[in-house]
Amino acid sequence: MRAYVPSYQLISPASLGEALDVLASDNGTWKPFAGGTDLMVLLEAGKLTHQNYVNIWNLPELRGIDVTANEITLGALTTYTQVQNHRTLREEFPMLCQAASETGGLAIQNRGTLGGNIVNASPAADSPPALLAYDAELELVSRAGERKVPYATFHQGYKQMDIRPGELLRTIRLPRHFQKLIHYYRKVGTRKAQAISKICFAATAVAAADITHVRIAMGSVAPIPIRCVKTEAALVGKAINEATIAEAKDTLASEISPIGDIRSTKDYRLKVSLNLLEDFISQLGR
């Protein structure tokens, strides 16, 4: 059943300060509303249970991409289109750009935001694995002050996050790397465009004879987007050979917990995950 639209509040503060005032009021009953590409789907389906929203879409304080010597800071409202169009991101963080280009169609990419993708906290979202592999850090802001959280510890359980009432995600920071990295990103869906992931795999490592600086992150294989730290540990310092690949695959199989749902089966997800890991490791040796 469709939603009864008059029952929803969507107020539009003029500044970030005003928005934080509203978020701090009424015992945290106000929630932020950004590009709407997830929330409006729930609204139309009659499944949007929360009713009081703060429209943050027009707040300039949450926009922009800032490049400094050591990091890139993205405003939480950076859209997928803006991610793809940014030259430094394309050069240094190609997996994030690929994730942005494979999320929905252009109309979604023009509205959907990186911050929204993070706090919507879908385990099947496409940008979180890339952000995890790039050691992203989040900056949260509230009337109580600012707080930095490593993205790797932000997701705590299905739709459970390290975010407090009244807090708003302001920026996403990516440390720049100056070693030559291999970037390996694969989204596996039912079709090439407009599909939600069955599996999402993002990994980086320094290209060298022995494996260093390895990061592996996955979507749709656990209740949250996960960094596969045990698998990474199984690879660090190893030479690229059959034994290394076999050990890493065994480790990954025990580290992820894919399930069967409407989009795929447990067996398929496990098999594809292990295949992607093997493909990634093989590419390191080239």
């Binding site: 509040q9 969507l10 252009l106 109309a107 023009n110 465009a193």
Partner: protein
């Protein structure tokens, strides 16, 4: 419960003052309040592109935009695409010539996507055309004629 709010925006170059509940879908306001029924509703969840309109020169799904976010925006719908009363946009003309419109439900969205593509990429490759149309579904599955329509519109 919310009250209706006033939204100032431009629709097809006309400055308007709208009154609507803030969470009303832009799609509904366009169709039911402004009677701009060229914009269609397909899936209502951002998958099919039938409701595509341009906001500030970028294509969006109007079913996913709450009207409160249209404040200050410049919106273009299929009704605003033609050059004049007597002259269609090159994309519209090409759709007629190539049989790009079949049942017609996806057509306004397909035309908007093609117009958006050609505005940003005047000489698209085949892959760019496919990517430009990837967010729009045609259930008659007449994709080749739609693709050919876009090819014909290039450079016109």
């Amino acid at each position: 419960m919310s009250d209706k709010i006033e939204i100032n925006c431009t629709v097809n170059d006309q400055q308007l003052k709208l009154h609507a509940y803030p969470m009303e879908r832009l799609l509904n306001v366009l169709r039911e309040q402004l009677r701009l029924t060229g914009t269609k509703e397909g899936c209502g969840e951002g998958e099919c592109g039938a409701c595509s309109v341009m906001i500030d020169g970028r294509i969006v799904n109007s079913c996913l935009v709450p009207v409160a976010q249209a404040e200050g925006a410049s919106i273009k719908t299929i009704e605003g695409v033609a050059v004049s009363e007597n002259q269609l946009h090159a994309v519209q003309q090409a759709f007629i010539e190539c049989g790009g419109a079949q049942c017609g439900i996806c057509t306004p969205g397909m035309v908007m996507a093609a117009v958006d593509l050609l505005e940003k990429t005047p000489n698209p490759t085949e892959a760019e055309i496919r990517n430009g149309l990837a967010g729009n579904l045609c259930r008659c599955t007449g994709y080749m004629k739609i693709f050919e329509s876009v090819v014909r519109a290039i450079g016109k």
